[in-house]
Amino acid sequence: MIRFFLKRCLSMIPVLFVVSILAFAFVHLLPGDPARMMAGQDADPATIELLRQQLGLDRPLPVQYLRYIGNLCTGDLGMSLRTQIPVFDEIALRYMPTMLLAMTGMAWSVIFGVFFGAVAAIYSGKWQDYLAMFVSVSGISVPQFWLGLLLIQLFAVYLGWFPVAGYTGKASELVLPSITLGATVAAIMARFTLSAFLDVLSEEYISTARAKGVAERLVMWKHAFRNALIPVVTMIGLQFGFLLGGSVVVETVFAWPGLGRYMIEAVAVRDYPVLQALLLLYSFHFVFINLLVDMVYALINPEIRYE
């Protein structure tokens, strides 16, 4: 198991190398000139030219690529063109807020999503099923920014229970954004759990268990639920990968200093090193989470073994 883990970790390197090339190509293909954007709207040409030289943008692309990849090998992600602060530091600053938000958002969505999904499956066709699915469909349909602003109006402006926006490290600041973020994902989880559960319930071993006279509660929770979890875990992994990229909408509405907003700001001014580093980081998240998901499979189902 550990050997498998290490082997998979090593195999991430070539993947990330290919991603680094794609990231470089992609950001340099975008139209627009970072020097122009950094210099400001009313800059004179000398300033723009000066910046182009300082930022190394006047050199041929292959040279720029070699420098980028050379620095990358030594762990240097470069400097943000916009702030002249090392990209690593800039990302480190925003990583925790995004991570916190992703984890709490994920926690809400797993708790409510899996619960609603399971309820809908167990009480299939009854009112509990319709209620659970009504709630989850609402969750998917409500636009995040609207839900966020609604929660702000109710809980921050009128009731004053939680702060409106911003992140200074208080737990109370996490509540509204994480619920907003979790709502959409919870809805997806609920739908997914429902279908996975129903699939399992139509399996023969469930009928066998029932025929044996196993208590219905045991059939549901021991036989069905556990097996239904496998595809759900895959979905959790995928969703978590997205959340770790930072939700642009939630971070914007709640003035959350995270990676999603940073990405948008970086795109707007064509901050190449930041964009490259973020693309690399996002890919790493997905590759790594995939690996974790594979590991979790083995924990849920003892029949799955990796060599």
């Binding site: 139209p31 954007m37 040409p45 709640f254 003035a255």
Partner: protein, 508 residues
């Protein structure tokens, strides 16, 4: 188990929910923008520059109408040809690190700018040398006459940093700015807030606010919610679409003020049919500016009545271009384009600009000018405009949504970079390739002297000359809107979109 943890977290959240009570004079400023730098010489955005102005000061500064006023200098004199400017410095002023402000400090800062390494180095480009006459007198010798030089000195890019801080931190001074201003820098968390605190020994008298925290809140609805919930004291910009909500709240006061941001349509003036002045005039007659302001701009603008906004130095009113469709059609006919022609409409994709350009597209259809609209993000938009050449083999007649804010507060920087022949892209921003020898001559005349009456006369003639030539489709000048809680005093927006917090204070 998981659920238990989560419910604990939720309960903990509830307990912590009541917001920490800020002290009586800790002010929170919520803004759309994020701080990008705190090194005045290396800053290109208005927002960062405005925070720097609370920490550092220049020899000259701007008052609330963007007029130049003395600050660290008591005053200045200049010679007839506008090539020598002598400043007398105030005595007894200390930087936040207790070192003295004097001629040497000015020399160090100007020398730093003159290395050409910084984004605002261009402000000192006209300078040949800086002479230190004595401890409290400095003289700038310029390469050639530059009448607008005092505006370059008043510009936030020319703020004076403590020489000790420059020596100690080098270019890291961006994270440790030290000046002479009313507030001392405390902390900057990149992507999040900047905090400054009261300077207890401020030379202009007692500072009332204990601290000011500048918080980026990009979403306008959240910004207003923070103000209403008492978690911010001042927000900028105040979104026009939420005006009714804000006005209904008795705790909130709206501040609106004309800006120096002018909006206009850039046209390719070098190619038929837009090279014909009658066609350009027809376009101006066909634009219903009032409708555009009301619908696309939420009413937060006034119709343009000169090529520069009213708050720019040496503005001279030409009167709003009337909306007159009959006249527009007549001019089109005269020019031989009775049946209209095709153009390309270009615009950045910010929602108000896109909406405005769509309205322009509809309005110009009335006189037969039709075409597709291309909207793109700002970086791509400039890329596109700069890609046009004056001698393009296949010229594109385009109409693009443009805007300009002259950060020096002076007519020169509101006209020369946009309409002088020397300003053809990529050199500057004359994206329509407008060119007129008379205009170029008057542009130079405005710079040939530092005497305001001579300069004023040149710019009066210049505005009168250009207006009927219709190089642009004239649109409007933005109105700045901010909102604050009623018990906050002394914070106000400046016409360039910056703000002043020097006399900020929360009253009971």
């Amino acid at each position: 188990m998981l659920f238990k943890k989560a419910s604990l977290l939720f309960a903990a959240g509830l307990m912590l929910a009541s917001p920490a009570y800020a002290g009586p004079n800790d002010i929170i400023y919520a803004s759309e923008s994020t701080t990008k730098s705190l090194d005045p010489h290396d800053t290109s955005d208005t927002y960062s520059g405005a925070i720097e102005r609370a920490i550092c000061q220049g020899l000259m500064g701007f008052d609330e109408n963007l007029s130049v006023v003395p600050l660290l200098a008591e005053g200045y004199t200049f010679n007839d040809t506008a090539t020598e400017f002598t400043f007398t410095l105030r005595k007894g002023i200390k930087f936040h690190d207790s070192t003295d402000f004097n001629a040497e400090a000015v020399r160090v800062n100007i020398a730093r700018m003159m290395t050409g390494k910084y984004k605002r180095s261009s402000l000192m480009k006209p300078v040949k040398e800086l002479q230190v006459i004595d401890d409290y007198t400095v003289r700038f010798i310029l390469n050639e006459p530059f009448g607008a030089f005092v505006n370059a000195i008043a510009h936030p890019g020319s703020l004076i940093l403590s020489p000790k801080a420059i020596a100690e931190y080098g270019d890291e001074v961006s994270k440790h700015p030290v000046g002479t201003g009313p507030f001392i820098f405390e902390e900057w968390v990149s992507g999040d807030h900047v905090k400054i605190r009261k300077n207890p020994d401020y030379w202009r008298g007692e500072v009332k606010a204990d601290s000011i925290t500048f918080r980026p809140v990009p979403e306008s609805g959240s910004r207003l919610a923070m103000l209403r919930a008492g978690q911010a004291h001042y927000i900028y910009p105040m979104p026009a679409e939420l005006l009714k909500v804000a006005e209904s709240d008795p705790k909130i006061e709206i501040i609106s003020k004309p800006s120096i941001i002018e909006r206009y349509l850039v046209m390719n003036t070098q190619y038929k049919p837009l090279s014909d002045v009658r066609v350009r005039q027809a376009i101006n007659y066909a634009l219903n500016k009032q409708a555009i302001i009301r619908i696309a701009w939420g009413g937060a603008a006034t119709e343009a009545d000169s090529i520069i906004p009213e708050n720019l130095q040496f503005y001279s009113k030409q009167g709003v271009w009337p909306y007159d469709l009959a006249k527009a059609k007549e001019l089109m006919k005269e020019a031989g384009y009775e049946n209209g022609f095709k153009v390309v409409f270009l615009t950045p994709n910010a929602s108000n600009r896109l909406r405005a350009t769509e309205m322009v597209q509809q309005q110009l259809k009335e006189i037969g000018i039709t075409g597709d609209l291309e909207s793109m993000d700002v970086a791509s938009f400039y890329n596109k405009l700069e890609g046009h050449k004056v001698d393009d083999a296949t010229p594109v007649p385009f109409i693009a949504f443009g805007g300009w804010s002259a950060s020096t507060g002076d007519a020169d920087w509101g006209i020369r970079p946009l309409l002088a022949t020397e300003a053809y892209p990529p050199s500057m921003s004359n994206f329509g390739f407008f060119s007129s020898p008379e205009v170029d001559e008057l542009v130079q005349a405005g710079l040939a002297s530092a005497d305001n009456s001579i300069r004023g006369e040149a710019y009066r003639k210049l505005q009168e000359k250009i207006w009927p030539m219709a190089p642009w489709g004239y649109l409007h000048v933005d109105t700045l809107m901010a909102a604050k809680v009623k018990n906050l005093k002394g914070v106000y927006p400046l016409p360039d979109g910056a703000f002043s917090v020097e006399s900020a204070e929360l009253t009971q």
